[in-house]
Point group: C2
Chain length 403, copies 2
């Protein structure tokens, strides 16, 4: 069974049963393929008699996006399982347990998180996750610090770069985030009412210059091992638990891209939620909750990362007075810029987010889209002068007030 082929339900059950200490051999199991079929097969195997369950995720040798299909390397399954394993080691409890990997089958067998909800869905439904900022800042600080030249042997880090060379998946980001949204590309997709907004983006030279710099940073800045796709659809939550999944875009890149992905996606929900409920008080509370979350993600990340630097810093030169402050300032600036890019692409680019696309009223949706674009472009344009997370909150509040 070890040469690649898409697994059948029966094969999935057989593999699941071979994992020690999860399923009981003498009880029946049920198996369902629950993937969306675009990139991966996902088998959910459960044993009703014991309540035990697990997930098998198998990469498919192609990608389907909006009807198109193109070949995609199975090596991404190796990258995903290795990244998940490493992240789990560096940030214990914040990823699903990996039971087994099979490189030939492009397969990862892991903990079932059905008791969690995908955070994007949770936020759309008005969920509140009081531990999220604490958890995700821990995930970010520990995975980024310990895979950077600050917290990892600098020669081993070069081998890490080599292991996570990920050209095909990076290409998707380079095109869809750092190119298409800023020109009239056939890859773009947006509501007809956004035509004028999109054209304004395409003509904004000052914006393009900042995006070109952020694109360059994504292409060249081998700072730490990134998750690479850390939006709210890659995070499972409950009010007391946070689990990061799906690091198939992992590569060694600029830290701000991961931090910005989290913040940008919460701000996309913020852009939507303020127009979502008819109840003014509920809207205001929701808005406050989301911005508090964004602020806490950065503030806690900043504190934890600085603490790791103090306690686990390996680089003598990194203890130079003033350097840590300078580094954190640049990291905040990158976070602004990448968060902005993540927002803009979700409004005018190929792939959107349900937070905004599910707003039924086109007029309300348009206001949400314009708010997201205003926040996104504001963050991009101001990223190189950013000094505090408060400026990001101001940009978001100003855009929302004008929405």
């Amino acid at each position: 069974m070890s040469s690649y082929h898409p697994l059948t339900v029966e094969e999935a059950i057989e593999i699941a049963r071979s994992v020690p200490n999860v399923l009981r051999a003498d009880k029946p199991v049920l198996c369902r393929e629950i993937g969306d079929g675009n990139l991966n097969l996902v088998f959910h195997v459960r044993q009703p008699a014991t309540g035990a369950s697990l997930i098998l995720k198998q990469a498919l040798p192609y990608a389907k996006v909006v009807g198109e299909s193109w070949p995609l390397t199975l090596d991404r399954a190796r990258i995903e399982s290795e990244a998940l394993t490493l992240e789990g080691k560096l940030a214990p409890g914040l990823t699903p347990t990996v039971y087994r990997c099979d490189a030939e089958l492009a397969l990862t067998v892991m903990e079932d998180l059905s008791d969690h909800v995908i955070m994007r869905k949770g936020l759309i439904e008005g969920g509140v996750y009081p531990k999220f900022a604490e958890h995700i800042s821990e995930f970010l600080a520990r995975t980024l610090f310990f895979t950077s030249d600050l917290g990892m042997n600098q020669q081993d880090k070069k081998q890490l770069v080599k292991s996570f060379i990920n050209p095909e998946l990076c290409k998707i980001t380079e095109d869809l985030i750092f190119d298409d949204p800023y020109t009239s590309s056939p890859n773009n997709s947006f509501d007809a009412h956004l035509q004028a907004d999109a054209e304004a983006l395409w003509k904004d030279g000052a914006l393009h210059l900042e995006v070109a710099r952020l694109r360059e940073k994504f292409l060249t800045h081998a700072q730490a091992l990134l998750h690479g796709d850390l939006h709210t659809g890659s995070i499972f939550v409950t009010p007391s638990s946070t689990k990061v999944i799906d690091p198939e875009f992992a590569f060694v890149g600029p830290m701000g891209f991961d931090i910005g992905a989290v913040i940008g996606n919460v701000l996309l929900n913020y852009s939507a939620q303020i127009h979502w409920s008819a109840d003014e008080t509920a809207r205001r509370l929701r808005r406050t909750y989301l911005l508090d979350t964004v602020r806490d993600v950065w503030t806690l990340f900043d504190r934890k990362f600085r603490d790791l630097w103090e306690s686990h810093g390996l680089d003598r030169m990194s203890r130079t007075p003033g350097y840590r402050d300078d580094y954190m300032r640049r990291l905040l600036q990158d976070t602004f810029g990448f968060a902005g890019c993540k927002m803009v692409r979700r409004i005018v680019g190929l792939a959107h987010v349900a937070d905004i696309d599910t707003i039924p009223d086109a007029r309300v949706r348009h206001v949400a889209q314009r708010t997201a674009l205003a926040i996104g472009t504001g963050l991009i344009k101001n990223h190189r002068s950013a000094e505090s997370i408060g400026e990001l909150i101001d940009i978001a509040e100003t855009a929302a007030a004008q929405g």
Copy 2:
């Protein structure tokens, strides 16, 4: 003969004879080992009857520097031969022809350049190389542009990063250039009369902050395939020819490190030459020649790199108005900073340069050393605000005048 062992003279001759179309089979050859024995064996094989000759360079599995010996990967021979081959393809005529590589033997068989002189030696002896700036700027512009995300397919470039992961050789640079000179390290070595100058370096917090940033850039900025050790000892010259050798430090890093290596090493010679001759007019002419060379290296590089960008740029976003100017400004700033680091380490660090160390009079040598330190620290401290190569010339002239 394909499993690794240091070659004998007889084996070197046998390999040389197996290269097609160089030596005649019916005529005798002579072979001499001319390496310094610290890192490599270098065999010079020549055929007096025909005048034909070639070089065999074989890596040794250790490095000896100032009496110390430590193991060093033979993979550097693969890196060197692959880099040399690629550079030769990108910058035709500016590297020795590679006849053969043998990865198992850690061996490169290449063109003999005995009709050239090592540029450091040539400059010390007062040589003038009117084509040097033209040639080295061509080498820099073409090798850096076509291995960057600007001029190379961006997915192939990621494979280039992977092929040239070079931890051991980078570690040497990280320690000897970006750490030791700025602290009282046992690796440092300098004349007793430099004690106060060295201590001033070790206490200069503003300087350390800039060096920490440059160190970070060296560690993380995967911009283009570098030669990695492009000082004047890695360049063979005649008045009409320039050949770059010894790229065993090659890796994908910040372009300014290569450009800065060239400029910093010419400035080390400048620091020495101005105190070298008793003849005031000769000194002034020499000084002018060297600074003109530095200026020309940058100016010609800048023009050629911009031209390549115009004619061969592959990245749509890189055509954003203003981006190229912004990129070239940052490249100049990196060049200032790395040139400065290259100078400082040659005065107080482990490995020095003959340009300065061979000055027999200790008092004159001290003036040269202080001039080099003043230029080096001036470049490092001012690198982030640099706007033109003229500022570098000013820093050099001011330091020389105060020497």
